[in-house]
């Protein structure tokens, strides 16, 4: 099978976000970059499928500035075979990135399945998976918690609200966006990390895959940090008195109960 994983590099979850001088974006200084956590489930799912289907290859693709090659190497170290970097500007939106990724997929001889994470934890937009599928022209199932792979179709378990699941069957080729719980991602082994360092990562320019600034549909501006919260009120006293006072405050002051 010809398996693909589209990944994104994002700031580590511990990152303290600072704005740049004119609040047009964040200050990138000192950010530690990681593979977006949900993408790890996507990589793992592709690798497991490859292991069950002899002769399969897993290609990992990322669109972004040069730094994203590190995230591609992280995925290669987990066991992916090939890496492709599509160079697009830092400011590219979901649609620009999706057009670039779909363009890279279209250059491949055959695509059976594409995996992504259900959202990236930087912008948390949850758009790129569906947009790649639309640009490519294939069906897409999001928030996938389980999948049964057949020869021409996949049965997916899709998480929805209230602990319910939608069972969705899709024809192949298709894109599946992984939710945490789909599998347990492996750690990269030391030999694989060493091998991944030497692997060639193919570089494509936006123009090579038919994407350009004209695909930019939204821009972010006027960034703000959350307003500093006033120090809250610690309720003193014995537990019974504390409970009583809290309920009174929520009822009479905050009026939320």
């Amino acid at each position: 099978m010809n398996l693909y994983v589209c990944i994104k590099q994002v700031p580590d979850t511990e990152t303290k976000i600072k704005l740049n001088a004119d609040s047009s974006g964040i200050d990138p200084a000192g950010i530690k970059w990681i593979l977006s956590p949900y993408d790890e489930f996507a990589v793992e799912e592709a690798l497991r499928l490859k292991e069950k289907n002899a002769g399969s290859t897993v290609t990992v693709i990322s669109a972004g500035p040069t730094r994203v090659v590190e995230a591609i190497r992280t995925a290669l170290a987990m066991g992916c075979d090939n890496g492709i970097h599509v160079e697009i500007p830092e400011s590219a939106d979901n649609n620009f990135a999706a057009k670039a990724l779909a363009g890279a997929l279209k250059k491949e001889a055959k695509v059976d399945l594409v995996f992504t994470g259900k959202e990236a934890i930087d912008d948390g937009a949850a758009q790129t998976s569906q947009l790649i599928a639309e640009h490519f022209g294939m069906p897409c199932v999001t928030v996938v918690l389980g999948a049964e792979y057949g020869a021409t179709s996949v049965k997916c378990k899709r998480e929805v609200e209230g602990g319910a699941f939608e069972m969705v069957e899709t024809a192949l080729p298709a894109l599946l966006a992984a939710q945490k719980g789909l599998n347990e991602p492996r750690y990269a082994s030391l030999p694989n990390i060493m091998k991944a360092k030497k692997k060639e990562v193919k570089l494509l320019k936006a123009a090579d895959v038919g994407a350009s600034e004209a695909d930019q549909k939204i821009k972010y501006k006027n960034f703000q940090l959350p307003p500093p919260k006033q120090a809250g009120k610690k309720i003193a006293g014995e537990p019974a008195a504390q409970a009583k006072e809290l309920v009174r405050a929520l009822h009479e002051e905050a009026k939320v109960v």
Partner: protein, 322 residues
């Protein structure tokens, strides 16, 4: 004034509160408010939508729309958007809305601002702000180029208005050309819990590692049930197996914005705060007075949760009875 199309959301013939938030906000701003209602045997719901101030409800019915199907929804909504030419298209940022809206945006060749927490109507456009970096910052979204402005709005961000039984909307049939479907939703497996979903609830009671076992979460559940609240959890509690992952609040879990968030035995790690900092009122119960959760809590109780939580349940019961 804008021409606004809102995509209603229903499950099992019951409309979501988040739909009323959108309809109410659009109508209150004096917009020409249209609502798309998709499903099978759902035409009766148009009346309820009208009570929140919608002008017109476009009802698309088909057996293939009985269960949510992304391709079918996208096809129907693309046709409706093209014939109606709205200035703005809104849906809730729910598992359904967040799934089809990017597809609709692509078919209309426009951008989408997803998971917005503020919404203002300006002329025939909208001004929206959304969290980025899991709520560590927010940004305003600028739409590039012409065409309708699309946005999904976080549940509870706008507030549910009161319905007015004196108001009603015109109801019309929308065509349901589904095209060639490559996917099929074969079934919906219901969750076992009767509690509201953590992302939809007006009140969320969450427990952390301090709960020590899934059995001990009973006291959290009892408090939640007294308040009609959802139960949430920290990642530490989820990783320890006390709660399923779907209850996890935070950067790699659910992002919630309830009117009241009660954190019990949760330290307030940056990844947890990312998921709940937009809650309107935050309560922390933690034995450590220095716990970071107190930096964003409006009210704090520095006591053992095993003592305080059952007492709170009793106190809330008293005011609920009145």
């Amino acid at each position: 004034m804008a021409k606004v199309l809102i995509v209603a959301e229903q499950r099992d013939g019951k409309l979501k509160k988040s739909t009323f938030e959108l309809v109410g906000a659009s109508a209150a701003a004096g917009n020409e408010t249209h609502v798309a209602l998709l499903g099978e045997g759902v035409d009766g719901l148009a009346k309820e939508i009208g009570q929140y101030g919608a002008n017109k409800v476009h009802v698309a019915q088909n057996a293939a729309l009985k269960l949510y199907n992304a391709e079918a929804y996208t096809a129907v909504l693309t046709d409706l958007a093209k014939s109606l030419s709205p200035d703005v298209i809104l849906a809730s940022h729910t598992p359904t809305g967040r799934d089809f809206m990017p597809r609709l945006a692509r078919r209309l060749d426009v951008g989408l601002a997803s998971d917005c927490v503020t919404l203002a109507f300006e002329g025939n456009s909208i001004k929206v702000r959304r969290p980025v970096y899991s709520g560590k910052a927010t940004a305003e979204v600028e739409f590039v180029g012409a065409g309708p402005r699309l946005a999904t709005i976080r549940a509870n961000a706008l507030g549910v208005p009161k319905p007015d039984a004196g108001k009603s909307a015109e109801s019309v049939t929308a065509t349901a050309n589904l095209g060639d479907l490559k996917t099929k939703t074969t079934d919906v497996v219901k969750g076992a819990s009767a509690r509201p979903d953590v992302t939809e609830a007006a009140i969320v009671v969450s427990g952390g590692r301090a709960l020590k076992s899934s059995d001990n979460f009973k006291i959290i559940e009892e408090l939640a049930d007294t308040l009609g609240a959802a139960v949430g959890a920290s990642r530490a509690a989820v990783d320890a197996g006390y709660r399923p992952h779907r209850d996890q609040v935070g950067q790699t879990g659910k992002v919630v914005s309830p009117a009241l968030y009660i954190a019990c035995g949760i330290s307030g790690a940056i990844q947890h705060l990312a998921g709940m900092r937009t809650s309107k009122t935050i309560v922390a119960i933690n034995t450590d007075p220095e716990a970071p959760i107190y930096q964003i809590a409006d009210y704090g109780i520095v006591s053992d949760l095993f003592t305080v939580v059952p007492l709170l349940t009793e106190e809330f019961k008293k005011i609920k009875e009145h």
